[in-house]
């Protein structure tokens, strides 16, 4: 029979209660999903608010992606709770000094905002489907019209104002939500690895690059599946966005690490021993070298050489995949890495990720991929394509 708790092997001196890892891989998945939400929404906002016309082909998909992932954001948390049936206690009786207490409100607000913006964005399509279809789906679309069939130019102008306003509100909401996730770690003074003022900003910028990268991958994949040519202008726009933000993300992460080492407070010896030992591969090699510096250099090269055509598509897609991997490694290195450095500052622990179980590797993979399943369903119901005569995203 599997033991009730998993004990972690350790070296050096660790507090007795530390030998159990309390935050598992699911707590790394949670900020990863939140980051993808914020990043995808950034793309949507770049088009809706800042008028980046070249991102139009992915603007609606960005909304759907954001919504799909946001719906799954609470799932790793719920699976992790000792008493998931009490989860709403934090919303019913929030303890206002807790960084975690606001999660329910932020998340609910953001889901509502996404649903509302999505509704306005898809209203012409919903109305058209409601009027055209007579089957069960027609009934579904008729329900979604909420009784409003007015798609006159006047009504559309009204809708556009709403979309703009919601997108404007959504920018601080999405980024606030993710910056707040970073604050949950950065505000803890018990661990030197987490306790950083830069943590919320680091989370934010890594979120943006992950979300934009996800959209690049999804867009290219969708074009391949639909056997349509990739809009290179759009892909370049996504590549520029990744390139610009990855620089900031890299600088911030570098600064944070430099701060820890340079300040050299109590426990820094153990941190240095950790990053040059067990964390060497996950941190320096996978997160930085492979996941961040390689795509940054590759993207820089493509921008410099004006790469186009298939080379651009392949290059951006591979870079985007690397960034997605890098950001996951960043979440892992923060959440798991933070716990692998003992609070004593005199010991190191080793996280043994179980394969099965509600906090195992398979569950983590399932929860990361599940939003893509929902996205598939949403795309079937609400095609986000701006090409062809699919619908009125013009």
């Amino acid at each position: 029979m599997e033991p009730v708790i998993q004990f972690a092997p350790y070296t050096g001196w660790v507090y007795p209660n530390e030998t159990v890892f309390e935050w598992s891989v699911l707590i790394a998945v949670y900020p990863y999903l939140t980051g993808l939400v914020a990043g995808a929404f950034t793309v949507s906002s770049l088009y809706q608010v800042f008028g980046f016309q070249r991102l139009k082909p992915v603007a609606h998909m960005a909304l759907l992606t954001s919504l799909s992932f946001m719906i799954f954001v609470p799932t790793p948390l719920l699976l992790h709770l000792g008493h998931p049936e009490r989860a709403f206690n934090s919303t019913i009786t929030p303890h206002l000094t807790s960084a975690m207490a606001m999660f329910g409100f932020f998340a609910s607000f953001y889901v509502a905002l996404l649903l509302l913006e999505g509704w306005f964005a898809y209203r012409p399509f919903i109305v058209a489907q409601a009027q055209k279809r007579t089957d069960l789906l027609g009934r579904f679309y008729r329900l979604l019209t909420l009784g409003s069939y007015d798609v006159s130019e006047h009504a559309m102008g009204h809708d556009r104002k709403w979309i703009f306003a919601l997108a404007v509100i959504g920018i601080p909401a999405a980024h606030g939500l993710h910056g707040y996730v970073g604050f949950m770690y950065g505000s803890l003074k018990s661990r030197e690895w987490w306790s950083s003022d830069l943590m919320p900003v680091i989370f934010l910028f890594s979120a943006i690059i992950s979300g934009v990268s996800l959209l690049a991958v999804l867009y290219v994949t969708s074009c391949k599946l639909r056997k349509l040519p990739v809009d290179l202008g759009c892909l370049k726009g996504l590549a520029y966005t990744i390139w610009a933000f990855i620089m900031v993300a890299l600088v911030l992460e570098g600064l944070e690490f430099a701060n820890i080492v340079y300040k050299g407070r109590e426990g820094v010896d153990m941190i240095v021993q950790y990053v040059t030992g067990p964390l060497l591969i996950p941190y320096f090699i996978l997160q930085f070298a492979v996941g961040a510096i390689t795509p940054f250099l590759w993207l820089s090269y493509m921008i410099w050489r004006g790469t186009s055509g298939r080379a651009l598509v392949v290059g951006v897609t591979v870079c985007a995949c690397l960034v997605l991997f890098s950001v996951f490694m960043m979440r892992w290195n923060v959440v798991i890495g933070g716990q692998e450095i003992a609070k004593t500052g005199k010991g190191l622990l080793s996280y043994q990720m179980p394969l099965f179980g509600k906090e195992g590797a398979l569950m983590a993979i399932l929860l990361t991929l599940a939003p893509l399943g929902l996205l598939y369903v949403l795309i079937r119901l609400f095609p986000p394509w701006s090409d062809a005569a699919t619908h009125a995203h013009t």
Binding site: Y15, P16, N17, V20, P84, R86, F103
Partner: protein, 282 residues
Amino acid sequence: MSKDFKPTLAARRAFLARLGGAATCAGAAVGAATLGITPTIAAKTESTAEGDSFPTKDYDWTKHQWGFGVDATKCIGCLRCVEACKKENDVPGNAHQFRTWVERYVHIEGEDQVRIDSQQDPVNIAASGSEKTYRFANRYKDAKVEKAFFVPKLCNHCTHPACVQVCPVGATYRTEDGVVLIDHDYCIGCRYCVQACPYGARYFDEEKGVSDKCTWCYHRITRGLQPACVEVCPVGARVFGDQKDKQSPISQFIRNNRVQVLRPETGNAPNVFYVGIDKEVN
């Protein structure tokens, strides 16, 4: 003597009446405690005037401010405190979850780094032969030990507890009498408090799905008893009492010694006061 200072007959009668009432209440409470009919600890928010949910009806948490002292120079590392705590508080019987523990610090000649272990160390568990009984293995018998000492550890019941600050539902809270408790019926099991505690004092009880930690045996101290670990300590290394009572053991301990707290830089303001610990202890 001026007239103002002469107690009137009416005032004297009222005073005697109050005294009689208090004596009756105290007697009733003692009787109830003897018969074992006092209610158990329940919720956190009831006023002391209502009193029904408190461990003892006449217990007034505004009249106490509990404190704990550790004299590391006295501790012999017998670990009776750890075993007593596990039994008294139904702490899981394994070598990874403790409400209190004892650390051993050993300086060996020729070594720069102090060697630190606790009862949960695999070598010590092997020596005890069980994860439910504890002893320190005699692992340094062949080494030239320059300096060695034991440090009992437990929740610091901080005045500004980081664990209470981060609890998203307010399930963990600080009582008026200075004890940090957890409402196990309200805890959602997020473990944020476990992460936030810089002292490693909290653990997560997987069976109950909630966080847990030392309560200074709140069910005992509110009945006038000592915490289990203090009760069993054969050398008086653990001291407990009411800081509001200037003659209590803890007040004398703080007054008569130069005490220090662990990790003062965190701003948590611990209420476990140490004597005789070295620079490596945190």
